[in-house]
Structure formats: C-alpha cells, structure tokens
C-alpha cells in the first residue's frame, strides 16, 4: 500500500527541501491525473505480454493466470498498451470521478 503522509508545516521540511529517504517516489501515487483507464478483454487476450513491455510507467505485470494486470496507482492512461496490442483486446474507458 502506498503511504501518504500529511502535508508538512514549513518547520518540518528538511534542509533545502531535500528528500531524505531513498526510493520515496513509490509513495507518490502519480496515476491520479489519469483521464481514462485501459480495460482488457481476456477472451481475446493471448497472454503475449507485449503491453507490459511497452508500458512506459512499468505499471503492467502478468498475473498468476498469465494475464496482464494494471496498477492504477501509477497508470497515466497514455494508451500506448492499446496501440501496441496486436490482438486489439485493450480499450480505454473514461474515468468517471
């Protein structure tokens, strides 16, 4: 689970606003400005994995059954997976909220 700390007061900032913890970018859910999300039609998917290779965010993985699974905390909705999928099994659905 991503950890969200409360916004700090100025007195609590590190010297020069440095980030003192290595790898802390994992706490930033950068997928929150996505306007649409990819949807897979698994009946059509052949588990080739090409979408996971081309995802520029590295937020696609193959799940236990061998199908691609998206991590929506980081997916920006760029739709590169849709373009690269040669079976045409991925479509984009608008984010409603």
């Amino acid at each position: 689970m991503a950890k969200q700390s409360p916004a700090p007061n100025w007195q609590d900032l590190a010297l020069g606003c440095a980030t003192m913890e290595a790898g802390s970018s994992k706490y930033q859910k950068t997928g929150d400005w996505r306007s649409s999300r990819p949807i897979w039609n698994f009946e059509q998917c052949v588990k080739c994995g090409v979408c996971t290779v081309f995802c520029p965010e590295g937020c696609l993985k193959m799940n236990a059954e061998g199908y691609p699974q998206v991590d929506l905390d980081y997916c920006k909705g760029c739709a590169i997976c849709v373009t690269e999928c040669w079976t045409g099994c991925i479509s984009m659905e608008e984010e409603k909220d």
Binding site: A7, P8, W10, L13, L15, G16, C17, T19
Partner: protein
C-alpha cells in the same frame, strides 16, 4: 603577520579565496569576467592552490556547476559580473532554495543594451529576489576581508545559504590599492574546515531539488524566508569576531557624521567613499550632512537602518539602478517600505545616478544636497530623478 601591499583588488580577492582553501571554482572566464577567476586559475595551475578549477562554457553552467560541487560538500567559490550574473539568473534561485553555501563575488556592472560593462548596480539589483544573502563592500580592503567572512557566514550551520559579495566594477575591482592581505594561516584561525550538514553521498542517498507540489511550495518559501531572516544574528556575530581578530570591524549598516545632521544621504558601495570626502568638504561650509550606508542588503537590516536614520529630517537616496515606468530605484523603494507608517519619518528625496559608469562626483552630491535642502526648507518632495540625464528627467519633477 598580515602583509600590506599594493595590489589590484581583483587579485587580492582571488588570493583571499585561495587563503580560504576553496575546493572548487567553476567560472566562465570571458568578458564581463574580472581578473578574479583568471588569477585563481593561475594559482591552481601553478600548484599554489589545491582546488578543482572548472572552466565552463557559460555563466549558466558556472552556477549549475557550483550547485553540483556545493551539493557534493565542496567549499565552492565563483565570481561574475553584469551579463554573466544575468545569465546565472535561473540557477540563482535554485542554489538559494537548495541552501547551498556558495560564495560568489560580483563586480557590479551595468546590463546591456546599450552594451556597457561599466559600473552600476543593475546586475545585482535585478537579482534582489533570488534568496541569496547579499553584502556590499566599499573598497578593495573590505572586499578582500569579506571573502573569508562570507565563507564563514554561508557555511554557518545556522545559516547555510549562498552569499553574494558585491563591490563596484572597475572602481574597486580593477584599481590597485594598498591592501593588508591575510595569510592562509591567519584565515585558518577564523575559518574552520568546512563540514557540510548534508551532501550528496552514494552511501546515504538523499534527493536534492525534488518537485515541490502546490501543497508544499509555499512552505518551502516560508522556510527560505526564515533562513534568510535568521542569518542576521550570525552575520553580526561573525563580522564582530573578524573585527576583534583582525582589527577591521564591519557593520550591517554604517553611519558617517550623522549625529548633528538633518540631511542624510543613503547609498552603498564605493560611491560612499567619494561621498565621505565630499561630506568633509561641505561641512567646512557649515552644511550639516551625514551618510548612512548599507553594507548588508539581504537580509535587509531593517532595525539597524531605522535606528541609523531616527530623528533625521530628509534622506537623499542614491540608487544605481531603477525600474523604468515603475517606482524608481530599489534602495529607495525599500527605504520607503521601512519608513512607512513610522512617526516623524524623514522625507525621502530619491535620485538615480552613476548609471553605466557615469561618475558620481562632488557636483552630483551638491545637486542632491540642494534638492534635499529645498525639502528641508518646506518644499514639496519631488519624484525620483535621473539627476545626471542631459536634457532633464522626463515627466514632472
């Protein structure tokens, strides 16, 4: 024992930086640069200074490089002037908010156009808001002394901010003066080995300069404001310690013959040296006038300045830069800010003079004095005036 010798101020400043045992110097060694970095490169080349001299391809790169070396924990020094400082503009803010204790000397010179690299304060005053500490020296001795002082201030754990040491281009930078040079051993007793509070270290990785989202940017600026304000006390302490040790005491605000004066001139830099001679001369005619000079400009020494001009009737402010179509020059704007709402605040007469190397001589001071005298005699306070402009100031004076 300190040695007094005739030396060009730029070379003396370079020697002072070497005496501070700086680790890194990144500079763009072409016009409008001074002899400071030229001489430092010689010292490094000749093995007299164990430092990394990085000749970069622009001033933008010079300041970027300084940020890198300072972030790595190196005592970092650079020098610039005029267009060079303007080209550094973008990185100036970054060095400041990342709290990198860089020391930079600036030989103050005009900005183009027209092309002009003679002395005024348009380069430094356009960098007023960059968040650096800013200090002005009046002569070569002072500029040389303030190099180790600036390193002490910048690296003080209560400060940790970059500092800009200003002095007038050519008038100070290129003039040979008798300067008492501190030896490296003497400087070492005043300036300890630099121990960075935090630095880039592969074994303890941190991120310097991450994104500051709208949720944190305001807090980052507040922290910066607090840092600059909190620098005031350490600056005073360090200046005093330097004075005790080496016999030359410098204060954030200096007064000259103001005790009995109704009219007081306000300025900074080498102009004040000429003005002091003028004051001595005009006082022989019974005209009581004094001078208040800013040495420290950031943080603005509000309390010390108010104290220095308390009870005075008219201030004659000499700006060496102004904002066209705006509210005159920066020194006057800030003086008015400090005085606004004060009881019995002095009236303020502002002139802009000494632009792009135009000499400020006794005649100029006489004219400013006349303007102040008219106000003292009950006349209306005039708007700011480019007093040396042939053809007169445009608009209503």
């Amino acid at each position: 024992m300190a040695v007094r010798k005739g030396i060009e101020s730029s070379l003396a400043i370079a020697e002072a930086a070497a005496a501070c045992d700086v680790d890194c110097i990144a500079a763009y060694p072409i016009t409008p640069q001074t002899h400071i970095v030229e001489h430092l490169s010689e010292l490094v080349n000749d093995g007299e200074l164990d430092a990394e001299f990085i000749p970069v391809e622009s001033e933008h790169s010079a300041m970027s490089c300084c940020c890198g070396t300072a972030a790595a924990g190196a005592r970092t020094f650079t020098a610039t002037s005029s267009q060079g400082l303007a080209l550094m503009h973008e990185i100036m803010f970054i060095a400041a908010n990342l709290r990198l204790p860089i020391v930079m000397t600036v030989a103050n010179r005009a900005l183009s156009a027209p092309i002009n690299i003679w002395n005024d304060h348009s380069d430094v005053m356009t960098e007023r808001d960059c968040g650096w500490l800013q200090i002005f020296a009046e002569n070569g001795q002072e500029a040389t002394d303030l190099v180790p002082v600036c390193h002490r201030i910048a690296e003080d754990k209560r400060v940790l901010l970059p500092i800009m040491l200003n002095f007038d281009g050519f008038i100070v930078s290129h003039v040979v003066e008798p300067i008492e040079m501190l030896t490296r051993e003497e400087v070492a007793t005043f300036l300890p080995v630099y121990e960075p509070q935090q630095r880039l270290d592969v074994d303890n990785p941190i991120t310097m300069g991450p994104v500051g989202m709208p949720e944190v940017y305001t807090e980052a600026k507040m922290a910066h404001e607090a840092a600059v304000q909190n620098a005031y006390e350490p600056i005073c302490e360090i200046l005093e310690e330097f004075g005790k040790k080496f016999g030359r005491t410098y204060k954030p605000v200096e007064s000259y013959k103001t005790e009995d004066a109704d009219i007081v001139f306000v300025m900074m830099g080498a102009t004040a040296e000429t003005c002091m001679s003028w004051v001595d001369k005009i006082r022989e005619q019974g005209k009581k006038v004094g001078i208040v000079r800013f040495r420290l400009w950031r943080p603005l020494p509000v309390k010390a300045f108010k104290e220095a001009v308390k009870g005075k009737k008219v201030l004659g402010i000499i700006d060496r830069h102004f904002s066209p179509g705006g509210a005159g020059g920066p020194v006057c704007q800030e003086v008015k800010y400090m005085l606004y709402g004060e009881d019995n605040a002095p009236k303020v007469v502002e002139v802009v003079a000494g632009l792009g190397g135009r000499d400020i001589d006794y005649d100029t001071f006489d004219k400013i004095f006349d303007k102040c005298q008219k106000v003292l005699d009950g006349g209306e306070v005039p708007p700011f005036e480019l007093i040396q402009a042939r053809g007169g100031h445009y608009g209503k004076i």
